[in-house]
Symmetry: C2
Subunit: 178 residues, 2 copies
């Protein structure tokens, strides 16, 4: 991001004002929300990329390593990884190619399905993902730039968006009964 | 996005559960918020790209054309556009190069500063941006996938994030007094 000091006005509020002035009042709130999401992602990704840079990892490669590291034996079918990360199969292939090339994961045949592939974390991959998780937690996730209430409410609102968009079907999890 | 039916569980809620189980409770809420923003942006950008595809425009090129079209004479200094769009100067250069190549904008010398450049909308650019704005309003902004309350609250929360990140300085605008 260009860091040349704050603007004197909120550019999204100004765009909303223009939208209404041009007769697009029905679309003004949605335009503000979509533009806000796009900007929030830029701000977060800039911080994530800065934290990951010393490790030579992209966020997509981090997410794949983290997902593998959460499994019991550091392995999962490629198809499950594609479904869980909710990314396009082509970008998963690129992500996996880089991880394999760099020695952080290996492809293995699926034990039951000859046409499918398993992805397996290497020791180097496990070491890397533990160190990068610690770095991301400290640099970004422990201080996301929002207070606790805003953080929780943002997650709830976007969960409704994700659910309405067909990402998942379950009801939002409730706390365990005491 | 891969559209292969919804997952049986919310993958971000599941990641949060894992984060807490691994002893990273301080970072779990922030991880959920950041990952939610990243996913929301993917969902929105997929809809935007689909709406813009018939026009051969990226969202970055649309935003630049829209910004120019909002000015009184369809022209503004490049430096102002870079500041307002809050993007990296390099990506603005790429965006502008494409717009100029395609005949939607032209570069002109700045009337007062010989080293600076103005960007000027062409008639073709103005025609294109009016048609794409209509298409985006109808396909995305009028139905962002959130109800009115969530849309407004999401904008407010991200405005606080943007302000805390140094995007702008003004107080949030109040409604005009009656």
């Amino acid at each position: 991001m260009a860091r040349r000091g704050p603007l004197p006005v909120d550019p999204i509020a100004e765009a909303k004002r223009q939208w209404i002035a041009h007769g697009w009042a029905d679309a003004a709130a949605g335009m503000s929300a979509v533009t806000s999401i796009v900007r929030a992602q830029q701000l977060m990704l800039a911080r994530i990329d800065a934290a990951l840079k010393p490790f030579g990892l992209s966020f997509a490669r981090f997410e794949m390593l983290r997902l593998l590291a959460f499994t019991k034996e550091g392995r999962m079918p490629m198809a499950s990884a594609i479904a869980r990360l909710q990314v396009h199969p082509t970008s998963v292939t690129n992500t996996v190619d880089r991880l394999v090339r760099d020695g952080f994961a290996v492809r293995e045949p699926h034990p039951e399905d000859g046409r499918a592939a398993m992805l397996v974390l290497t020791d180097a991959g496990r070491d890397l993902v533990e160190r990068t998780t610690e770095a991301l937690n400290e640099a970004v996730f422990e201080s996301p730039g929002l207070d606790d209430d805003d953080t929780a409410e943002l997650v709830r609102i976007i969960a409704r968006l994700r659910k309405a968009s067909g990402d998942f079907t379950d009801p939002r999890p409730l706390p365990d009964p005491l």
